[in-house]
Assembly symmetry: C2
Homo-oligomer: 224 residues x 2
């Protein structure tokens, strides 16, 4: 089975396992059972075993998974086994917070360049990274940077992404709250923070049995 046949949802869970292995209570031990990993990361143990079955067998019945080997293999599959350099575009409040965020290193991710249009920011340093003008985006290819984080205002998102694609960037994490068009060969993940928060109220029950009533009410209103 080729790696690219691994389902998207499994790829989504692999970093969760990796994160769990790094901080699990089994630290200092050599092995971890799927049940123990399951309890720690909050995924069913059968799901874990199924996810791992896509890329081979790691576990031994009764012994469990060798933690170090499993982590190394997940990193290899996720292609996190080498340091990956990323460029940040847009050093506003969110961009600055991302530059200061310590969590990327655990995955071998290094935000090694940052770009902004604001002349007042260019040349200053945030967390050791010197901010450059966006004309520098066109030279990313020479700097072994394959990933980019887009934290620009919505109106600038498409132009920024177009420029990154032209510069040979292969994967983009976009925080701008909009759809951007991108060639199929480039992987785009859009993370709209406000939208994530906006998903919560749906799950919050209203007082009483309002829903059925409201639904009937709206159905009436919507006889178009």
């Amino acid at each position: 089975m080729r790696f690219h046949k691994i389902p998207e949802e499994t790829v989504r869970r692999l970093p969760i396992y990796l994160r769990g292995l790094a901080v699990s209570p089994e630290q200092g031990q050599t092995h971890i059972s799927s049940e123990s990993l399951a309890a720690f990361v909050g995924v069913n143990s059968w799901q874990i075993r199924k996810d791992f079955s896509y890329f081979g067998e790691f576990g031994t019945r009764g012994v469990g998974y060798n933690i170090e080997r499993l982590a190394r293999e997940i990193k290899r599959i996720l292609r996190l086994d080498v340091i990956r350099k990323a460029a940040l575009v847009g050093v506003g409040d969110l961009g600055s917070a991302l530059l200061a965020y310590p969590g990327f290193g655990a995955y071998g991710l290094d935000i090694s360049a940052a770009f902004d249009v604001d002349p007042a920011k260019i040349g200053t340093r945030v967390n050791g990274v010197q901010i450059e003008g966006i004309e520098g985006l066109d030279r990313l290819k020479d700097r072994d940077i394959s990933l980019a984080i887009v934290a620009v205002p919505r109106a600038a998102a498409q132009a920024t992404v177009d420029r990154l694609v032209a510069a040979g960037i292969k994967g983009i994490l976009n925080f701008a709250p909009c759809k951007v068009d991108i060639p199929k060969r480039v992987k785009l993940i859009t993370l709209d923070i406000a939208m994530e928060l906006a998903r919560l109220p749906y799950y919050i029950p209203r007082a009483g049995r309002m829903d059925e009533e409201q639904r009937a009410d709206s159905a009436r209103q919507l006889q178009l």
Copy 2:
């Protein structure tokens, strides 16, 4: 059909449609076709029609969806038809960026309270919100705050979430990169930003046909 029978993935897409309706090129017009909305938000038109079918019929063949009614109905279904107050816990770099982020208002979300343990921060204001000590968390119920954003370090995440649950919070957006345990009645969405970036390299092809070889290689190594 009860609202809670709407699939999670549909609930995930509804805010995308809402976002699209708010900024689509059809602004100023009364109706939008599923095809036009599809092209604008990047979701297939059949998927849009299927998603809308879960909660009733909005469209008229040949005329499309009434934009205003559709937006109103999606807001109602997502329970975003009233202002939702949220508390932010943890006013570090990320928390400060979230307080300054202008995108929440579009969904009727209002971060109206912010909490931190740092005495130097307590009493100061970020984007008009005065930062309070975390003892104030216990009085959230009196302030009509049902949502919370957790942007504390990993080590403080579980205790923070426990305290929010005890204070009657019904939905939590957690940025701390860890699993937290929570009662079923509270909805938790965890957003691990580094992990999202870590998903990208998987989709970036390596030079040559390394994958098959590496897989065979790792299968050999992993004969446990």
